[in-house]
């Protein structure tokens, strides 16, 4: 019985992230529009877009290979699995131990691997420019992320997200410099990984400035829908991750009953809304960087992460 309940909660989590993800994107767009005193599309617009895209036929380039057609499913699947492994409203989910934080980072790396390959499949300049910039960004963002994982793992003594989250609620966290550095670094990585301003502009189709949009330029129909959904899932993943690590309050342990789940769920919704508002505000007040300023930005994130980890290595002996 308990096992069935565990399965149900894990399944709920998987469905939940899938259903919430476009909403988060929609909410951010709406908030940004309101901040610019525009009306903006309704929050539900991304769902409508996805449904419309799913119903449309796929227009494939003449020389697109099987990889081009398989990539959206793989990208979507890896991102979904990664997003489903980040605790949202409850900790200690059934499959949390399947993959720790390092594996989640690597799963996102798999998604990126196929996305960048898909960008190069047709052989256009746009795909190439997008892929080549994406791997440059990733080559700095991923190590920065690993350094954040190191900091957290050293602090907690575990790389399991559930355990880290439980540790973060417990009173023995205290105020630590490392955690501050990790938070700043994680936010910077999250911005870069999700192609947000100032690293990339999710709304642009101006060829020289775009990264993510350039890679997916050849995609249409259901393939594009899957890639858009995966991008939303990734954004949700990072918001959930920041919430789970740095705002762990209100998360309930698994098997604590439906009422607790409602509490956990509403706390999660609140945190997400907060995250969306912060991101929308940040994107509104900041300008996009030149592409070759991005390495400086991410290098700073990497150094902050390394500094945090070093502090822990050194302070352990004192």
């Amino acid at each position: 019985m308990a096992l069935i309940q565990d399965f149900a909660v894990q399944g709920m989590q998987m469905i939940l992230v899938l259903l919430l993800a476009p909403g988060v994107t929609g909410l951010i767009r709406k908030l940004k529009a309101r901040l610019l005193r525009r009306q903006g599309p309704p929050v539900l617009q991304p769902y409508r877009d996805l449904l419309r895209l799913l119903r449309k036929e796929v227009v494939l380039a003449d020389n697109a290979s099987w990889l081009f057609r398989a990539a959206p499913y793989l990208i979507f699947a890896t991102t979904w699995v990664a997003a489903a492994l980040v605790p949202t409203f409850a900790t200690g989910l059934l499959f949390n131990w399947t993959a720790d934080l390092i594996a989640i980072v690597a799963l996102l790396g798999s998604a990126r691997f196929f996305l960048t390959l898909a960008g190069m499949d047709v052989g256009t300049g746009f795909g190439g420019i997008g892929s080549s910039r994406e791997v440059m960004i990733a080559s700095l963002a991923e190590p920065a992320m690993i350094m954040i994982v190191f900091s957290l793992a050293l602090l907690v003594g575990s790389t399991q997200l559930s355990n880290i989250a439980q540790f973060m609620v417990s009173p023995n966290v205290g105020l630590r410099v490392t955690l501050g550095l990790a938070l700043i670094s994680l936010v910077m990585v999250g911005i870069a990984e999700n192609a947000r301003i100032p690293v990339d502009n999710p709304a642009t189709h101006l060829e020289l400035t775009m990264v993510h949009e350039a890679m997916v330029l050849e995609y249409s129909g259901r393939h594009l829908a899957l890639i858009e959904l995966a991008a939303s899932l990734k954004l949700l993943l990072y918001l959930s991750l920041i919430a789970c690590l740095f705002l762990p309050w209100g998360m309930v342990p698994v098997r604590s009953g439906p009422l607790a789940y409602v509490i956990g769920g509403s706390a999660y919704a609140l945190k997400l809304a907060l995250g969306c508002a912060a991101l929308a505000l940040f994107e509104t007040v900041i300008a996009k960087m030149r592409v070759f300023r991005v390495p400086t930005f991410l290098g700073a994130a990497l150094m902050l992460g390394l500094l945090g980890a070093l502090l822990l290595f050194v302070s352990r002996g004192l």
């Binding site: 190069m120 047709v122 052989g123 300049g125 190191f150």
Partner: protein, 668 residues
């Protein structure tokens, strides 16, 4: 018993080599020789696997070699593991070569040396005294040198062979000195005697440095790597796979055997040296790889990266062992051995793939390839798996060993020394960087060579390669997946080897629930490749099924969307160099002093505009070039000695005698 079987097999390989000398020019020799090599290697691999399971330790002494030492051969679980790695690679390469070898232009220059090379590698792992070890080591170097020189008419191959043989001799020389120190003044050349004797701390440190030079140069540690990217690609592709995938592992074996086994208890700072070299190799190797356009050279540089990764694991194991952290040392060594195994598999796979591309197109330059996924679909699929595995993507095997290495790094704050506390996180950052860059590097390899539109006529008319090659590549790709989703079984199989080195092994992984990987404890960290694979496969299939069932499954083919420009030439696609340009801007200026020169002719001038990129190899510039210059100056000066009269020669001899006698007199 096992030793005897293995030695007979080595003898059979040598006999095959001799037979090949007169058989090679005849028709049908190629499949015959390679089939024989594959069969013998398979037998040896099976024997090694058996011994790894049984855990026998046997010695055999033959009355060969030095009269008072003899030729000693020995097999324990550590050598069994490496024999297994060597022979898996050997079987793969031999079977692949049954197909690939048909395109060989000079079979008489490859066939005799190939089995001899295999025999040499096996002998190194079997040797149990310094003399046999060095002899086998040199035999391995020389046979591989002969294979590098197989195509001596190809531009640059002669230089590759020259640099290789210089570095190989230098490495053997360093190992010779190391064994000399280990043997002590009484000349105990047997490994058993070396194990029993203990060196003073300073001599032990000297041995470590000499072994790092000797084994490290063969493995390709920065800064001793310069020969590797020249020599590995120069050989025929199946030999490249052996050199990169297997011979470097023999060097790793030599390092483990001498430093962990023969040298006695380690000192903590040894760990720092090995870690620093490993971290530097990992980062430098992958950066070099990112800026190469030659497919095989990219793979060779990526070998340097992976060797760096393995040495980081070994360095951690040394540091943990020195400070008495048994469990952590075991974890680090297991991670290193696991990565060595994985690397031998996917690097062989990738070199086989590059050989298939070379056969199909005659091109190694990625800027002349493209679109091969349409012409060579099976090869492309196998290479894609290899690229994903080497980029450490879950659920493949590269990720499993990388994950273990990171777990070992995360145990290191317990180490008491400040030096290690500062070096380990820095090396961790280097590893994280090199893993991310490796992914970029292999996106570039696959994206430029296999995707896009063909950049040359040869690439447009490529043909799928033969069935033997495809079979071997698919089998290796399957091995990448299996070792990735069931890493517990591989780690359990390696446990006896770790036990042999450190006296303990990781808790049994295959009995953990759901076949997870749990290195220390479940609370700390766990990873389940099988479930990750199942989840990904299930979600992808569910998504595909639901969408095709409920939404649309219509497909329309249309021309490429060119933003208003009609179909441009395939040469306007991103090339290998342009793909790595952003990364070159970020990392290249500092480490390679990369500079770009654009020459734009003024309006009205009909010359084409040019763009050139200059990359300097810092290691070569600052280490090898001055060395080369110094040797040239010294030899110029000493040249005088060749033209002396007989009286002067005699007086020189006399003076030398007197000086040496004086030295001896003072020494005593």
């Amino acid at each position: 018993m096992q030793v005897v079987v293995l030695l007979w097999c080595v003898l059979a390989l040598l006999a095959t080599a001799i037979t090949a000398v007169w058989l090679a020019p005849r028709r049908g020799a190629t499949p015959l020789i390679y089939t024989a090599a594959a069969a013998i290697s398979a037998l040896m691999g099976a024997t090694a696997l058996l011994n790894l399971g049984v855990g026998n330790s046997a010695v055999l002494r033959l009355p060969l070699g030095l009269p008072w030492v003899g030729a000693n051969f020995h097999i324990d679980t550590l050598s069994s593991l490496f024999l297994l790695i060597v022979n898996i690679g050997a079987v793969g390469a031999s079977l692949y070569a049954i197909g690939y070898g048909r395109h060989e232009s000079a079979p008489q220059r490859v066939l005799p040396f190939f089995p001899a090379f295999l025999a040499g590698m096996n002998l190194v792992v079997l040797a149990d005294d310094a003399f046999t070890f060095l002899l086998s080591w040199e035999f391995m170097s020389l046979t591989s040198w002969a294979l590098v020189m197989a195509h001596d008419r190809v531009e640059d191959n002669v230089r590759a062979g020259y640099v290789y043989i210089l570095m190989a001799s230098f490495g053997t020389f360093a190992l010779l000195l190391a064994f000399g120190l280990l043997a002590g003044p009484d000349g105990h050349y047997g490994f058993e005697a070396m194990r029993a004797s203990h060196l003073s701390a300073s001599y032990a440190a000297l041995v470590l440095l000499l072994v790092l030079v000797g084994a490290g140069s063969k493995a390709g540690l920065v800064p001793l790597h310069v020969w590797l990217p020249l020599a590995h690609p120069a050989a025929p592709s199946h030999v490249s796979a052996l050199m990169s995938g297997v011979m470097t592992k023999v060097a790793i074996y030599a390092f483990i055997r001498i430093v962990f086994d023969l040298l006695g208890p380690p000192v903590w700072w040894w760990g720092i040296v090995v870690l620093a070299l490993g971290g530097a190799s990992a980062l430098m190797g992958v950066l070099y790889a990112l800026f190469q356009n030659d497919l095989k050279r990219v793979l060779a540089y990526s070998t340097i990266e992976n060797i760096g990764f393995i040495f980081v694991g070994l360095g951690l194991a040394l540091a943990f062992k020195a400070d008495g952290f048994e469990t952590a040392a075991i974890l680090a060594l297991t991670a290193a051995l696991f990565h060595a195994f994985n690397h031998s598999i996917f690097k062989s796979l990738l070199f086989f793939g590059s050989g298939a591309v070379l056969t199909a197109t005659g091109e190694r330059n990625m800027d002349k390839l493209g679109g091969l996924i349409h012409r060579m679909p099976v090869t492309a699929f196998a290479i894609l798996v290899g690229c994903a595995a080497i980029s450490a993507l879950p659920p493949l095997n590269g990720f499993a060993s990388e994950w273990l290495t990171f777990q070992a790094i995360l145990l290191s704050p317990e180490l008491p020394q400040w030096g290690l506390k500062l070096v380990v996180p820095a090396v961790g950052a280097l590893l994280a960087l090199s893993v991310a860059l490796a992914a970029a590097c292999f996106v570039r390899v696959f994206g430029i060579a296999f995707l896009g539109r063909p950049r040359s006529a040869a690439a447009a008319e490529a043909r799928e390669t033969d069935r033997f090659s495809l079979g071997v590549m698919l089998a290796l790709a399957a091995a990448c997946l299996l070792a990735g989703i069931l890493p517990g079984f591989v780690i359990d199989a390696m446990a006896p080897a770790v036990q042999c080195v450190l006296g303990g092994h990781m808790p049994q992984q295959s009995s953990v629930a759901w076949l997870s990987l749990v290195p220390i404890s479940k609370v700390r960290s766990s990873y389940n490749g099988l479930l990750v694979f199942v989840f990904i496969a299930a979600s992808a299939s569910i998504a595909a099924y639901v969408i095709h069932l409920l939404a649309s499954k219509a497909v329309r083919r249309a021309p490429i969307w060119g933003c208003g420009f009609a179909d441009a030439s395939p040469l306007t696609q991103y090339s290998a160099s342009s793909f790595s340009q952003p990364i070159r801007r970020v990392f290249g200026t500092l480490l390679f002093r990369a500079s770009e020169h654009v020459e734009m002719p003024p309006p009205g001038d009909m010359r084409p505009a040019t763009f050139t990129v200059h990359l300097r190899d810092v290691v070569w510039d600052y280490l090898y070039a001055p060395l080369e210059e110094g040797i040239r100056v010294v030899t110029d000066r000493l040249n005088v000695l060749q033209f002396l009269t007989i009286r002067r020669y005699l007086s020189l001899v006399f003076a030398a005698l007197v000086v040496l006698l004086l030295v001896v007199a003072i020494w005593r």
